[in-house]
C-alpha cells in the first residue's frame, strides 16, 4: 500500500472500527452520501449503511447531547462536527455533562463519546472555519483532547480514542488533511493517548507543538539543535515527557495557532515554570496567535505563526 493522507488514515480508522464493533455509530452533518465536506467519511455510508453512518439535522448541541445518552447506554458514538467553529453550541453538553457524568454518578454512568472536528488555520476558508479552541477543552477535567500530526498517528490515535472509556475531543488539523502523506499500516494498531513523542531529538531547545505547527516548528529548526515534542494528547498532558526534555535542554518554546492569551501554551509554560525552573537557561517563549480572532483569507497568513516568527523565538532563547 502506498502513502496516504490524514483524511485517508482517519477514514481507515473509522472503517476498521465500524467493522470491528457493531456498536460504533458515526453521526454528523453530511457524513453519509456526501462523505463529509472533507470526504473523511467517504464510502462509509455505502459500506455500513445509514443506520451506522448517520446524517443528522443541523444540530450540533443535539447530536453532541444525544451522543452522551448513546454512550451511557452502551453504544459508541463518534460525532463529526463540520468545523471546530461550530462546536461551541455543544460546549455545555461536553462540559456540564460528558465531562462530569462519571464523577457525578461515581462511576455508575460514563460518556465515552468521541467528537471529531477539523481545526486550525491554513486553508483560507470563510470565517469561523479556522478555529483552534483546544484550550477550552483542556480546561475541562474529565475530557481528553487529542491532535494527530501525521497519518500514522491519525489512525492510531483515533482508534485509541474510539476505544477510550472517557470523552475525547479529536482535533484534525485541516491544513494537514491532504498536505502530507505517509505509509500507514493496514493492521489494527493503536497509538496510546496521554503520551507525547519526540518528533526530533535535540539538545538546545525543547519545542512543544501539535498539528500544523509541529511541522512548521520542525521546518524552522534548521540550524538549531531543537528537541521537538509532538504533544498529540493535549489533555491529559504528558508532563513527564516535557519536563524530561526541558531538564536536558534548559530552553522551552511552545508554538500554537490559537490566540496566545490563555492558550495551551500558557499551561505548558506554567508547568515548566513551576516544576523545572532551576533548569531554565532562558525565558519560556510562546509563538502563537495575537490577541485577535483569526482573520479571513486575505490576512490569514499574517495571523498564523510562520517560520520566521518561530525562528526568531529560537534565536531569542539561544541568545539569551
Amino acid at each position: 500500500m502506498g502513502k496516504i493522507t490524514i483524511v485517508q488514515a482517519i477514514n481507515m480508522a473509522l472503517s476498521e472500527e465500524l467493522a470491528r464493533d457493531k456498536d460504533v455509530v458515526i453521526l454528523g452533518e453530511d457524513i453519509g452520501k456526501d462523505g463529509g465536506v472533507f470526504r473523511v467519511t467517504e464510502g462509509l455510508a455505502e459500506k455500513f449503511g445509514p443506520e451506522r453512518v448517520v446524517d443528522t439535522p443541523l444540530s450540533e448541541l443535539g447530536i453532541i447531547g444525544a451522543s452522551i445518552g448513546m454512550a451511557a447506554y452502551g453504544i459508541k458514538p463518534v460525532v463529526e462536527i463540520q468545523f471546530m467553529g461550530f462546536i461551541y453550541a455543544g460546549l455545555e453538553q461536553i462540559f456540564s455533562h460528558a465531562s462530569r457524568l462519571r464523577s457525578r454518578t461515581r462511576g455508575r454512568f460514563t460518556a465515552p463519546i468521541v467528537v471529531r472536528t477539523p481545526y486550525g488555520i491554513g486553508i483560507k476558508p470563510p470565517e469561523l472555519h479556522s478555529e483552534s479552541a483546544e484550550a477550552f477543552f483542556c480546561h475541562m477535567p474529565g475530557v481528553k483532547v487529542v491532535v494527530p500530526s501525521t497519518p500514522y498517528h491519525a489512525k492510531g490515535l483515533l482508534k485509541s480514542a474510539i476505544r477510550d472509556p472517557d470523552p475525547v475531543i479529536f482535533l484534525e488539523p485541516s491544513r494537514l488533511y491532504r498536505s502530507i502523506k505517509a505509509e500507514v499500516p493496514e493492521d489494527d494498531y493503536t497509538v496510546p493517548l496521554g503520551k507525547a513523542e519526540v518528533y526530533q531529538e535535540g539538545n538546545d531547545i525543547t519545542v512543544v507543538a501539535w498539528g500544523t505547527m509541529l511541522h512548521r516548528a520542525a521546518e524552522a529548526a534548521e540550524g538549531f539543535d531543537c528537541e521537538i515534542i509532538d504533544l498529540m494528547t493535549l489533555k491529559p498532558m504528558d508532563e513527564e515527557a516535557i519536563l524530561k526534555s526541558v531538564k536536558k535542554t534548559g530552553r522551552l518554546v511552545v508554538v500554537h495557532e490559537a490566540t496566545k492569551n490563555c492558550g495551551l501554551g500558557a499551561e505548558i509554560a506554567a508547568l515548566v515554570a513551576g516544576e523545572a525552573m532551576e533548569h531554565l537557561k532562558a525565558p519560556i517563549l510562546r509563538v502563537a496567535g495575537p490577541e485577535a480572532v483569526v482573520p479571513m483569507a486575505r490576512l490569514e497568513d499574517y495571523y498564523m505563526p510562520d517560520k520566521e516568527r518561530i525562528r526568531k523565538a529560537y534565536e531569542k532563547v539561544m541568545l539569551y
Binding site: 456498536d23 455509530v25 443506520e51 443528522t56 439535522p57 444540530s59 448541541l61 443535539g62 447530536i63 453532541i64 447531547g65 444525544a66 451522543s67 452522551i68 445518552g69 448513546m70 454512550a71 451511557a72 447506554y73 452502551g74 453504544i75 458514538p77 453550541a89 455545555e92 453538553q93 456540564s96 455533562h97 457524568l101 462519571r102 464523577s103 457525578r104 454518578t105 461515581r106 462511576g107 455508575r108 454512568f109 460514563t110 477535567p141 474529565g142 481528553k144 477510550d164 472509556p165 472517557d166 496521554g194 491529559p236 498532558m237 504528558d238 508532563e239 513527564e240
Partner: protein, 355 residues
C-alpha cells in the same frame, strides 16, 4: 390558489378522574383494586419522603431541596407506565419518579446532603442523575433511545423537565432529533406553572406547551397532571407507541408547584396566596382519595395505617443516610477519568489525599 389550508392540527386534553373524584370508567386504565391501593400507598410514601426532606432541610440536616408537593400524580402516574429496563432522565424535581421506580430513598437523602454517591444508581436501575442545568438532559434521552433502537432493544427512554426547561434550545434539538430518528422517547413536560418566579405565561406566548409537538411531526397531548390516571394513561399510550417503533411523544402534564421553588426560595415574593389555595384544592391526593372511596377502597384507618408505615420506612431511610460514612476527598479526583492522569497523581500526593 390563494391561501390554501395545507395542514390542520388539533390538540387534545385528557382527564379521567375529576376534582370531585368522579371518573370516566371507559377511560380508566385496567388496574385491579390492589393496584389502586398500591398507587395510593406510593403517593403517601412519596409525600412523606418529601415532607421529611423539607423538615430535614429546616433542621440543617440536608441542603437545598426541591419539593414536589402537588406534582405527585404527574410523577408517579408517568413512572408507573414504564418498565424496569427502561431508562429515565430526571430533572432535580423528581423524587416521586425515583421513589416509584424503587430508587433507595436513603440515597436520595444522601444526594440532597451534598453527596454525589446518592446518584450512583443501583446496578440494573437505569436512572440518570438529576440534571441540574435545566433542560440540558433532553438530548441524552433522545440519544439513549437512539441506542435502544440501534441495539434492537424493546426499551423506551423517559425524560422529565419543566415548563422552564421547554424554553431551552436543548428541548428543540432533542425533540427534533427524536422525530427524525423515530426514537422511542417520551418527553414528560411537568408544567407546574412556574419556573422559580417566572409564570408559565411569561415562559412562552403559546397557549399550551404540548402544541410544540406539531412542529416536530410528533404526537403531543396535554393531560391533567393532577389526575394520576390520566397521566398514566397518556404515558402508557406513548410508551406502547414508542415500544412498537412508532417514535416519540410529548406529554404536557398540567399541574402546579404548591411549595416554594426550593428551600432557598420564598414564593410569597412573587405569587399570591389565593392562587395557591385554589390549586391546593385540586391537588392530586384529594382526588385520588375520593376516587378510592367511591370504589370502596378507602377508609380513614387504612390511610392512617399507610401513613404510619410510610413514616417508619422514611425514618429508616433517613437513619441509613445519616449514618453512611463520609465521602473520601480523594473521590473528588478519582472519578474524573477512567484512570488517574499524571497531574492527578501528583495532586493527590500534594494534597495528602492518598491513602
Amino acid at each position: 390558489m390563494p391561501k390554501d389550508v395545507i395542514e390542520r392540527f388539533e390538540l387534545e386534553f385528557l382527564q379521567i378522574i375529576n376534582e370531585q373524584g368522579v371518573f370516566d370508567s371507559a377511560l380508566l386504565p385496567p388496574f385491579k383494586d390492589p393496584d389502586f391501593k398500591k398507587i395510593f400507598e406510593t403517593m403517601v410514601l412519596v409525600r412523606t419522603f418529601n415532607q421529611r426532606a423539607l423538615s430535614l432541610q429546616r433542621e440543617g440536616r440536608i441542603g437545598t431541596y426541591a419539593s414536589i408537593l402537588g406534582q405527585e400524580a404527574s410523577q408517579i402516574g408517568s413512572a408507573l407506565a414504564l418498565e424496569d429496563g427502561d431508562w429515565i432522565f430526571p430533572s432535580f424535581r423528581e423524587s416521586g419518579v425515583f421513589i416509584s421506580r424503587g430508587y433507595p430513598m436513603w440515597m436520595l437523602y444522601r444526594y440532597w446532603m451534598g453527596d454525589e454517591r446518592g446518584m450512583k444508581a443501583p446496578e440494573g436501575m437505569n436512572i440518570f442523575p438529576m440534571s441540574v442545568p435545566v433542560g440540558t438532559h433532553l438530548p441524552h434521552a433522545t440519544g439513549a433511545a437512539f441506542a435502544m433502537k440501534h441495539r434492537g432493544d424493546k426499551k423506551v427512554a423517559a425524560v422529565y423537565f419543566g415548563d422552564g426547561g421547554s424554553s431551552r434550545g436543548d428541548f428543540h434539538e432533542a425533540l427534533n432529533l427524536a422525530g427524525v430518528f423515530k426514537a422511542p422517547v417520551i418527553f414528560l413536560l411537568q408544567n407546574n406553572q412556574w419556573a422559580i418566579s417566572v409564570p408559565r405565561a411569561r415562559q412562552s406566548a403559546a397557549k399550551t406547551l404540548a402544541q410544540r409537538a406539531f412542529g416536530y411531526g410528533v404526537p403531543g397531548i396535554q393531560v391533567d397532571g393532577n389526575d394520576l390516571m390520566a397521566v398514566y394513561s397518556a404515558t402508557k399510550e406513548a410508551v406502547d407507541r414508542a415500544r412498537r417503533g412508532d417514535g416519540p411523544t410529548l406529554i404536557e402534564c398540567y399541574t402546579y408547584r404548591l411549595d416554594d421553588h426550593t428551600t432557598s426560595d420564598d414564593a410569597s415574593r412573587y405569587r399570591n396566596k389565593e392562587d395557591v389555595e385554589e390549586w391546593r384544592k385540586k391537588e392530586p391526593m384529594i382526588r385520588f382519595r375520593l376516587f378510592l372511596e367511591k370504589k370502596g377502597l378507602w377508609t380513614k384507618e387504612y390511610e392512617e395505617d399507610v401513613l404510619r408505615k410510610a413514616l417508619e420506612a422514611v425514618d429508616r431511610e433517613i437513619e441509613a443516610a445519616e449514618k453512611y460514612p463520609a465521602p473520601d476527598p480523594a473521590d473528588i479526583i478519582r472519578y474524573t477519568n477512567s484512570e488517574l492522569t499524571q497531574t492527578q497523581k501528583r495532586e493527590l500526593e500534594e494534597l495528602g489525599w492518598e491513602k
